[in-house]
């Protein structure tokens, strides 16, 4: 059983605390906030970003970063939509095709990062622009509205009415999100591959010396991120009933800030799925709260930017102070000796 001191040192603890306080404050100012239906709506509207976040999280753990996932999601979504509408293919071909496109774009990122040995943030900012601009160029920015019914239809797994008369639906995006988070947890915490990813993120040189296959792990991490992005893209089209090329573009920073809020280190190797889940939840609550309080949506972007700034600066500062405290810590005062 972890004691309070170790609990206090965990970001998840503080996140949970902030969430509770924020929920309490919001429910006082807007009574409609603390209802089950608002909570489920909130979850559903953030499910797509949460699915993308799991992919990004795996890359962060492996010691890299991916900025291109939203563009990847858009490309995979659009290609799948084109196959479904223009060629009328069946879901059994369309869904795998979309996922393959996403994974392939992730592999492309991995290949560029691994073989060119360029910083992953530079590569993925570049590929984000290339993927997205190619998509806009090829489509002329036109959306696909006539998605087949199997795709655009709302899938509800569970439906019930609360005592207050609200209809609660647990829909496909929520279920896919939960499954993705679980899958990611099993992968990172329980599987050997996951432990290898943590090891590589913690000390890449040591990982290489112990004989881990760095290139395989890189391909796995970025491929997984691409896969999850594609999945998010497919789910997003289901949620809104159409494929819009630029619908996801611009969510990169809020997903990234959810990950660092949840305790994932941009230096690699540190973070938990529980933390990232709480990070997404907190961002969802903030955005929802701002909506309910009728505050400008730009405030939300200020907040996500500030979170990334604050958490990276805090990480850097704590690394520096730890270095300093190690030198003199509890050292006995030496006797002066003169010869």
């Amino acid at each position: 059983m972890p004691d309070f001191a170790t609990l206090r040192s965990r970001p998840e603890f503080w996140l949970a605390g902030v969430i509770v306080i924020l929920c309490a404050a919001l429910s006082l100012s807007t009574p409609s906030f603390l209802s089950l239906s608002n909570f489920v709506d909130l979850t559903e509207s953030y499910a797509v970003q949460a699915i993308m976040a799991t992919g990004l999280f795996v890359v962060l753990i492996a010691g890299g970063i991916d900025i291109s996932f939203a563009a990847t999601a858009s490309v995979a979504q659009y290609v799948a939509a084109l196959l479904a509408t223009h060629y009328g293919l069946s879901p059994f071909l369309v869904i795998p095709a979309g996922l393959v496109v996403g994974t392939g774009l992730g592999f492309l990122n991995a290949a560029l990062i691994h073989y060119a040995r360029v910083n992953s943030i530079i590569i993925t900012i570049a590929t984000m622009n290339v993927y997205f601009a190619l998509l806009m160029y090829a489509t002329g920015g036109h959306s696909i509205y006539n998605l087949p019914e199997w795709w655009s239809e709302r899938v509800t797994f569970l439906q019930f009415e609360t005592s207050g008369g609200d209809l609660i639906r647990i829909t496909l995006p929520i279920v896919v999100m939960v499954v993705s988070l679980l899958l990611c947890w099993v992968l990172l915490t329980l599987s050997r591959t996951g432990r290898q990813l943590y090891a590589m993120g913690g000390n890449a040189e040591a990982a290489r010396r112990i004989g881990l296959n760095i290139s395989k792990l890189q391909f796995f991490a970025y491929g997984f991120a691409g896969f999850m992005a594609a999945l998010a893209g497919l789910v997003q089209a289901n949620r809104v009933g159409e494929a819009v090329p630029n619908a996801l573009y611009g969510t990169e920073l809020s997903v990234l800030s959810a990950a660092v809020l949840g305790g994932a280190s941009l230096l690699g190797g540190v973070g938990t799925i529980g933390g990232i889940t709480l990070g997404i939840l907190l961002l969802a609550i903030i955005q929802n709260g701002l909506n309910l309080l009728d505050i400008s949506p730009y405030c939300f972007e200020i907040i996500t930017g500030a979170i990334i700034l604050a958490s990276t600066t805090l990480t850097a500062l704590s690394v520096q102070s730890r270095k300093r405290s190690r030198l003199v810590e509890e050292a006995p005062i030496p006797e002066q000796a003169h010869v």
Binding site: Q196, G211, P334
Partner: protein, 495 residues
């Protein structure tokens, strides 16, 4: 207690580009022996370890044999499977993972589910075999250096080691920690595990080894029974030269003070440091790695700001906000970390040499001509006897010793009155070391005050008039080389 030959190398060569790191190595290690590998920096010890552990493939033609059988080609996994384990100088641990996972990481190789219970069990078993108790779930970055070393050794044992290489394991340990480590090494040897111990600290080497192998310039000088060697012979074997007679220390206390600090403190780095450097004096500053020597020097040079205390240059109080201020006040600082901080590897010798004095090269139109720059570089190259083809070549085409001289020239070109040299001969071979020592003496004769930060006794005794010992951020002793021996000072430092 030593038995049959376990590892054997025959005619092993290794070339990096045009650099021959290993030249025809013939060497063997017996089962269960404690074998020390010594040699100067850059003599090929690390390359040898990497060749045997499968990190670097040796050039074709040589053999590496284990139990009489040639095992080439090796890769890290195969070398470990054959019982070769390495405790690297940087320990190569995963700071974010738990003690247990670091020890038994091999169980995480391959696919499938990570055997968490088995990992814990294995780690616990190994630690109890070593007689150490560490919290299994604690992340490694929360441990002390000595504890991390235990984890690294435990990892080696977890891999069914038959031979463990330890690369400079004592470099940042206190004497008590070193004693415990040496006990552990003897215990492992008694279990039949051979240990190859790489160390610079000759007293340790003689204390623990059964056999000692000396390397120089990528060659084996020879393997000797430890009992038959004294330290002077060992140094002679390592460096190939007799050590020059000691520099006769001078008493400079009557001369004017160039640099003085009073109770200088920067929290967490150094505390109440008061030193005085006189005109023409060479002052040594020694101590364990991480004792705060470099941190103190960085403050002197205006790279960090002290929290309290005063700094006087030529008797006037100074508060440097940047190193530009320090440079203007006549200070120069040659960094210990030449490769990362000192040189711009891809740029030319000229570019590296004149960077600190560029403004002074401007002509009356305020522009800097190439001719003036090349002239300056060629002057210094000639003065310091730096071996170059052309001053326009990239600096990374030079050897370590010559690179170091270019960096020295960079700061000397600013005509400093106060020169801070942080580990000036790290990675420099012995001949060039001698040259750098001669340069230090020459500068001090011209009246330059020099602070030499070093943990090499030979270096301190060859150059210094006075030696300060820093421990845990404080000055712990002030010695005259005339009144203390190298061994006695070394004992103080590692006590």
């Amino acid at each position: 207690m030593t038995g049959a030959v376990f590892l054997e190398l025959c005619h092993v060569h290794k070339t990096f580009g045009s650099f021959q790191a290993l030249r025809g190595i013939d060497w063997d290690v017996r089962e269960g022996e404690i074998h020390c590998l010594v040699g100067e920096n850059g003599c090929g010890k690390s390359t040898l370890i990497k060749a045997v552990s499968g990190v670097h493939a040796p050039d074709p033609g040589g053999d590496i044999r284990i139990g009489g059988r040639n095992v080439l080609p090796l890769d890290p996994m195969r070398a470990r499977a054959l019982g070769i384990q390495v405790v690297f100088q940087d320990l190569a641990l995963f700071p974010n993972l738990s003690v247990a996972e670091n020890i038994a990481f091999d169980a995480n190789l391959g696919r499938g589910f990570s055997p968490r219970a088995a990992i814990r069990r294995k780690a616990k078993e190994i630690l109890s075999r070593l007689g150490h108790d560490l919290p299994l779930e604690c992340p490694v970055d929360a441990l002390s250096i000595a504890e991390r070393q235990i984890v690294a050794i435990a990892r080696g044992l977890a891999g069914e080691a038959r031979l463990i290489f330890m690369d400079e394991p004592t470099a940042s340990l206190t004497r008590a920690e070193v004693r415990r480590l040496l006990d552990l090494v003897r215990k492992l040897s008694a279990e039949g595990i051979a240990i190859v111990f790489v160390s610079h600290r000759l007293d340790e080497v003689s204390a623990i080894a059964e056999r000692i192998t000396v390397m120089r310039d990528g060659r084996m000088v020879g393997t000797y029974a430890a009992s038959g060697l004294d330290q002077r012979t060992l140094i002679h074997l390592m460096t190939g030269i007799e050590i020059a007679t000691h520099h006769a220390p001078r008493d400079c206390s009557a001369r004017p003070a160039l640099l003085e600090t009073r109770q200088l403190t920067r929290k967490g780095e150094y505390e109440n440091v008061s030193i005085t450097l006189h005109e023409g004096e060479v002052l040594g500053l020694t101590g364990l790695l991480g004792a705060g020597r470099t941190e103190f020097a960085l403050s002197l040079f205006g790279m960090t700001r002290p929290d309290s205390g005063t700094l006087l240059v030529h008797g006037r109080e100074c508060r440097f906000r940047t190193n530009q201020d320090a440079l203007a006040a006549g200070l120069a600082y040659v960094s210990e970390d030449r490769l990362n901080l000192g040189i711009n590897a891809e740029q030319s010798i000229v570019d590296n040499l004149d960077i600190a004095v560029l403004p002074r090269l401007a002509n009356r139109f305020g522009t800097i001509t190439d001719r003036a720059r090349v002239q300056l570089a060629e002057d210094w190259v000639a003065r310091l006897n730096i071996k170059v083809n052309s001053v326009q070549d990239a600096i990374n085409t030079l050897s370590g010793g010559n690179q170091q001289r270019v960096i020295l020239a960079r700061w000397l070109a600013s005509h400093p009155k106060i020169l801070i040299l942080d580990s000036p001969t790290v990675g420099v071979d012995i001949k060039n070391k001698e040259g750098i020592y001669a340069l230090i003496r020459e500068l001090s004769a011209q009246g330059v005050g020099i602070l030499v930060i070093s943990d090499e006794m030979i270096e301190l005794f060859a150059t210094c008039d006075r030696i300060l010992h820093m421990r845990n951020g404080r000055i712990a002793g002030d010695y005259s080389p005339a009144h203390i021996t190298e061994q006695a000072l070394e004992a103080q430092i590692y006590a």
